[in-house]
């Protein structure tokens, strides 16, 4: 990304990934991925007002194996973005910046996201 053509010091290749930095970029990545999910949500809602045939297309697309895989990815992305987002809101209030607290809350976010995703998918398959 060097626009001047001058050499850049390596940073991503050198700096050891931390739970803070990894969760930060994951928050952005899940946010962007959820935007794609928002488009699919729009498609679903709009077909509900168009008629049973367009709606059936959406349903079969989401029910296919690739549809279910995407839904799983969106479910995890949603729960991660939600839990990490709440972590962010605490930071906005000035709470939790101590390094040990930030590390602990990060691990809690990952654990909660995985648990909620499994719970949601378990519930979905039980229905």
């Amino acid at each position: 990304m060097s626009t001047t053509g001058r050499p850049l010091s390596p940073h991503i290749q050198i700096y050891k990934p931390q739970i803070t930095s990894v969760l930060s970029i994951l928050h952005r990545v899940t946010g962007g991925f959820l935007c794609l999910g928002a488009v699919v949500f729009a498609w679903w809602v709009i077909t509900l007002s168009l008629g049973p045939e367009p709606f059936a297309v959406v349903r079969s697309a989401l029910g296919s194996w690739i549809g279910r895989l995407l839904l799983f990815a969106w479910t995890f992305s949603f729960f991660f973005h939600l839990c990490n987002g709440i972590r962010h809101l605490f930071w906005d209030a000035g709470i939790g910046f101590e390094l040990r607290t930030a590390h602990a809350s990060g691990k809690a976010v990952v654990a909660a996201s995985i648990a909620m995703t499994i719970a949601a998918f378990g519930l979905a398959y039980a229905m």
């Binding site: 626009t3 946010g31 928002a38 709009i46 509900l48 007002s49 949603f78 949601a120 229905m127």
Partner: protein
């Protein structure tokens, strides 16, 4: 003697000169999306086996339709605020950056409008 109000002195200060409104809107929509988003996931799980009429029925009650609309507005507003920041961070050419931000905002508004109209139509029963 200074002839400027204190507010006019402070406005635009700081490197970015702007961003408080964006910051607050992002937090406000985020807070709204905690209950609305979880409610959305619950609804989608509940509607998994639903056919066309069953899914439409979830929008029938006016309070339900209102909540779907609130979710839609909060979702697309939060999304375009976030995408705006992504464009600002990774697109370096000024022309492409501005075009990208406009595209993101217009797409969010278009999709949001289409969703709201659809929700109202489904709720009203047409």
């Amino acid at each position: 003697m200074r002839y400027r109000t204190a507010l006019s002195v402070v406005r635009g200060a700081g490197a970015a000169k702007d961003g408080t409104r964006h910051w607050w809107a992002q937090r406000l929509t985020a807070i709204a999306l905690v209950p609305l988003g979880v409610g959305f996931v619950v609804m989608m799980i509940a509607l998994l086996g639903a056919d066309y009429d069953g899914a439409r029925a979830a929008f029938a009650h006016p309070v339900a339709a209102a909540l779907w609309i609130l979710f839609t507005v909060a979702l697309f507003h939060h999304a375009q605020l976030g995408l705006q920041v992504i464009v600002e961070d990774y697109v370096h050419s000024l022309g492409l950056k501005v075009a990208g931000i406009i595209a993101v905002k217009f797409a969010a508004m278009a999709l949001g409008a289409a969703c709201i109209v659809s929700i109202i139509r489904v709720s009203a029963g047409s």
